[in-house]
Symmetry: C2
Amino acid sequence: MEKKNSIEVCFSPALFDHVLTCSPFSVVVVDILRATTSICSAFENGVKQIIPVASAEEALSYKEEGYLIAAERNGIKLDFADFGNSPDNFMQESVRGKSIVYNTTNGTQTIKMVSDHKPVVIASFSNLSAVAKFLSTQKQNVVILCAGWKHKFNLEDSLFAGALTAELLNYDNMFMNCDSAQAALDLWSVAEPDPLAYIQKAMHRERLRKLKLDSILEYCFTRDTSKAVPLYNGFDIKNNLSHE
Amino acid sequence: MEKKNSIEVCFSPALFDHVLTCSPFSVVVVDILRATTSICSAFENGVKQIIPVASAEEALSYKEEGYLIAAERNGIKLDFADFGNSPDNFMQESVRGKSIVYNTTNGTQTIKMVSDHKPVVIASFSNLSAVAKFLSTQKQNVVILCAGWKHKFNLEDSLFAGALTAELLNYDNMFMNCDSAQAALDLWSVAEPDPLAYIQKAMHRERLRKLKLDSILEYCFTRDTSKAVPLYNGFDIKNNLSHE
């Protein structure tokens, strides 16, 4: 009988040290608003390579070497950067074939945190089905790591974790092994009829209002606009082309 | 206009350093299976004082001074202890008026962690309404701290956080200020029609099965069997009698 692979959800980077799943496992990094949605958008638009960096200083030193830079702090594009952290920044022909250095408040920190794992998959609603299909072929346990917000639980990443869990459970070789996967799945069941309305219910709160997301919110909750499966290898992120 | 007080939910002790709420705030400690349910049961049955201690060694030294001891490790009563960590251990006349020293794997560690805060309220489904009423009179922000399980999110404590949030929102002076309170509330909305059935859905998983909870599970999810409001003052837990 085929070995079954577990699905575990980690609601915050601060909980990653406590995951139950034994290595090796596949890690799925999620930062729906907005880093991982933007990275998927960039690859869908033909970006060749994304180099996530941990600090604005490091991004600036790449700038001096001639790289394109995407960098923000608390939602605001940094002065020296070519792009902010919004998926629509990358929906233009000029990014095709380019390398982009990426630094954000939350998402890129989370990506760099799991550089020891393999594979590390960058996921969003945009590439949900492609990611699920890729993970099902890896024959490994899966940990879905929500970037959260400043180490706190957030709704958008947790909803995505539930949506991806639901999708993975369609594959016979996957099962849930923790309460957080069950909780994410149940939250998703509440939100699924209209994820955008659900998240807008939370929009009155300070954090989401400050990000001024009106123009890209619908895109961030739209499924399967992309077949990209961006993989992080500990240095850079490239689109996995092996399945195409 | 009366100042409004916020409700924040913390799904794990590992997230407590990241709470948004500024001190001072009321802390509600929750370990439904089983420490906080058992502590409520003990006070409902007339226990005078509970002293939570961080280690089995410390509990043993109290034993030598003649105290009654409740102590378990991974769900199993320690040899030298008078009681384990089950609410039915305290449903007997012999505990009336007694002091009990308490040590558990999860719950007492979480209680001791917040000894700098005031008030620290011990809560469970047994005293849900009494706790909500008490908190509403404190005119302070509230952080609901789930003990979780070995620093991980768990369903039973998170469901309780949602049930308490729902109850607190019935008071005009309370509002939610974080995504985790919203998530707990929505999880509770899924479970509320039959919390016991909901949690039993998760019972096939290793953790709950190992605890052998069949006999006390229904009690742990029954609301308002007690009017006790146990408060921790940094040293011991006593029932708040000021409201009676």
